[in-house]
Symmetry: C2
Subunit: 470 residues, 2 copies
């Protein structure tokens, strides 16, 4: 989104008594708020924040320093504050929570959904976790949180919430509605009611729509849907996200090893997983080893980048050794050095293009059922086509500007390099994937470095052969 | 996901009479099915497909050729067939539809949701569109489709479906339930009922949960929620996706210019938008100009890659001219050529790392409120730190292996190149974004090429100065 230099914009669509707004944070409103914070002008701040949703306020707080953030947070209404806390960036939330006592954190957590509460408490230092839990007023909430923080990160168990409505199959529609009424305050967003047997094992579900149109005396077992998707607490998060996306599910029930219903995962949690995975893949392909964003601290940004830079350095040193082996040739014909960057860059570009398509295909499952050799043949076809175009153009250029031997060397090696890079750009991610290594992890910088080295070798070898022949 | 070489796996979790499965397509089951298709063994195929969902069957058909796909599609149950059609890859669906008559397409489309139907018909050639519309049995469906295909691609109008339940504010809960009963078959998944005034203008919504727990004689206007999010038909899809993600909405109502409720967008449509945008950004950064996947045809794969390869070629040619200007120096000291690949590669790597973080920050709106200069200073800090580490290491290497003048040239220019690349990797995407150009479009290959050229210039210039000084 563009960084618009204009004032806070409430796109108020005033439609005859009906109003809603799209909030866009700008530097100007941020500066206004900072000034107001410095002046402790709570009236101005309250007025500004009044019409905003929790996610909007979190966007503002993310841009403030800790003392400013703590001040604004302290002004929030007690119902709004926990929601804002949840929407904050992880780093900012962690920082903010360090300024709270265990009791204060417990107050924030008491009214959250169990999964959100578990996320917040799970981020705290261990001794703090116990203290916060001991301050929780709602005992059920405390026991739900204890259960949830024990599930491994990256599993369905760690994503799910305990808030749901379940009914026994033998109950009536009327009893089910009674149950919903009881839980209405606790379960914020309800998509369906789950149906279980006497041992709490999941049997199926009943969409609210069906519940509404059924007769109050009808029995649940006569109307529920048994053909439903579900996952187990130990199902990996990515698999949950894939399934919910594939089958367009707004909510997914979670069962334990015995098939008992223990929680539910909603689409919004899964959207976050999808987004994080996509972001991570892009970062891996760009040579970042750690998930970072530009608001992170300097040393963390540096640490995430240095590993692949060092790999690139090693590649560069190997390249220097290869060229070193041809030192005599450069001495005789210094023009050979002119096209070193071209050869290296083209190998890198082609390699990244090829690997990006494969990494994405693997992530989207669109390569299933295909075998590696078929992909390689196709990729070589593309490489041949693009290689021919590029090498013809460079031949024409070098022939006109330099001399025919150099032109032949450059164009022939460029074609070979592009073909090689196409091959490696396809082969490397597929092979990494076969060995269960995230193909994005090593694809970008690894393929680039490899192609650099191979490209230089091909170029000088061809040069030596051609200059020796003619 | 890994390409597992094992047979079709039904992870049947048989939980005491309760069964559901996770389907995973493998080469083996695909080969079995292909054989069965060749043998026209419909019994075997039906048996295999029987337990699968539409999305799973579409995954299989995506891997088949046209005649195989048409045969399997012909075997599908008439209720299942349209669902499978919708889940197919765009290319495969287009191909498959060419084998259908207008009447056959109309039959498939008649039972789809209006948004899906409009998508399918919108993909057809114009004369075919009219013919299909004329064959539709459901006149309401036909008029909904005509409305939907007229909205611009990439707007809320093109994403929304017409299927929804709306009630007037003055009605009672009982009347609302009656309305739901009437529309139950038509609106597959229902999250809420929308509330409108006498002129069909959107006033708010009523979650089904609230409807269930309210008294049948209660009036809608007393219980509905008026503080809701909505978009207009001309709101860009990305904005819709952003809002639904930010505010965790399963469904978003769409109004026209007069504020009248005209449709609704569900989270699954928005998940697709998010995924496509992320995929596109990654492809843009990898130097692909067109959204392609590895199943696309060869010439299309080639066409998507050639533009940035040509830019890379131009960069390489400029690089050759720069080195050409230092030909005398290479002649005297051929060792200068050794480190050309290292300098080029490191500039490229650092540039990509920096720009990836910025592109992602822009996509996630996490850079709002920050100004460019602050980012640049921080990025230069990271560049300085990493540059110092790398240039010290390369100095030690070059000093030990080669000679001190070369060591100084390489290490000093590497530090400068890394700083430059950090600067450009940050500055270029931020600037593109300011001019409303997709920063991912030109970031990867553009930044790499630019850094290559700049790196070479710095390297040889430093070399000339240092060798002249000492």
């Amino acid at each position: 989104m563009p960084l618009k230099p204009c004032a806070l914009k409430f796109n108020s669509l005033l439609l005859l008594g009906f109003k809603t707004m799209q909030f866009e944070l700008t530097s100007e409103i941020l500066d206004q708020l900072k000034e107001a914070i410095d002046a402790r002008d709570s009236a101005f701040i309250n007025e500004k924040l009044e019409e905003l949703y929790a996610a909007d306020i979190a966007e503002i707080i993310n841009q403030l320093n800790l003392s400013q953030a703590a001040y604004i947070y302290g002004l929030l209404h007690e119902e709004l504050a926990p929601q804002v806390l949840l929407e904050l960036d992880d780093d900012k939330r962690e920082d903010l929570l360090t300024t709270f006592s265990a009791k204060q954190i417990a107050e924030q957590v008491d009214n959250m959904d169990s999964d959100d509460a578990a996320d917040v408490i799970g981020e705290l230092p261990e001794e703090m976790q116990e203290e916060v839990l001991s301050h929780l007023e709602d005992i059920d909430q405390a026991s739900d949180i204890v259960e949830l923080i024990n599930y491994d990160e990256g599993t369905a168990g760690s994503l799910m919430a305990k808030e749901l409505v379940s009914v026994y199959a033998f109950e009536s529609v009327g009893a089910c509605i009674e149950e919903i009424r009881k839980k209405a305050d606790n379960v914020d967003v309800m998509y369906a009611v789950y149906v279980v047997d006497n041992n709490e094992r999941l049997l199926g579900m009943l969409p609210l729509k069906k519940l509404i149109i059924s007769h109050p005396l009808a029995r649940i077992e006569e109307i529920y849907e048994s053909d439903i998707h579900f996952v187990r607490t130990d199902t990996p998060s990515e698999e949950v996200a894939e399934d919910m996306q594939k089958y367009d599910l707004a909510v997914m029930p979670v069962v334990d090893q015995l098939g008992r219903l223990v929680g539910r995962i909603t689409f919004d949690d899964v959207m976050d997983v999808i987004k994080e995975t996509a972001d991570e893949n892009m970062q891996r392909m760009s040579g970042l080893t750690d998930a970072v964003d530009s608001n992170d601290r300097l040393w963390r940004l540096s640490r995430a980048r240095i590993p692949w830079l060092l790999v690139g350095m090693c590649g560069g040193i190997i390249g220097s050794r290869i060229i070193g082996a041809y030192e005599d040739q450069i001495q005789i014909n210094p023009k050979m050095a002119f096209f070193i960057p071209l050869i290296g860059a083209m190998g890198g570009n082609v390699g990244v293009q090829s690997s990006a398509i494969i990494v994405q295909g693997l992530a989207n499952n669109s390569l299933l059922g295909d075998n590696i050799s078929k992909k390689l043949v196709k990729e070589l076809g593309v490489g041949l086509l693009n290689g021919l175009i590029c090498s013809l153009l460079i031949w024409a250029y070098a022939y006109l500007i330099e001399e025919w031997k150099l032109a032949l060397t450059v164009s022939a090696s460029l074609l070979t390099v592009i073909m090689c890079a196409s091959f490696l750009g396809t082969f490397v991610p597929l092979t990494l994937n076969r060995f269960k290594i995230n193909p994005a992890l090593a694809t970008g910088p690894f393929v680039t470095t490899l192609n650099d080295i191979i490209g230089i070798s091909i170029y000088f070898l061809m040069g030596r052969i051609l200059y020796a022949m003619f």
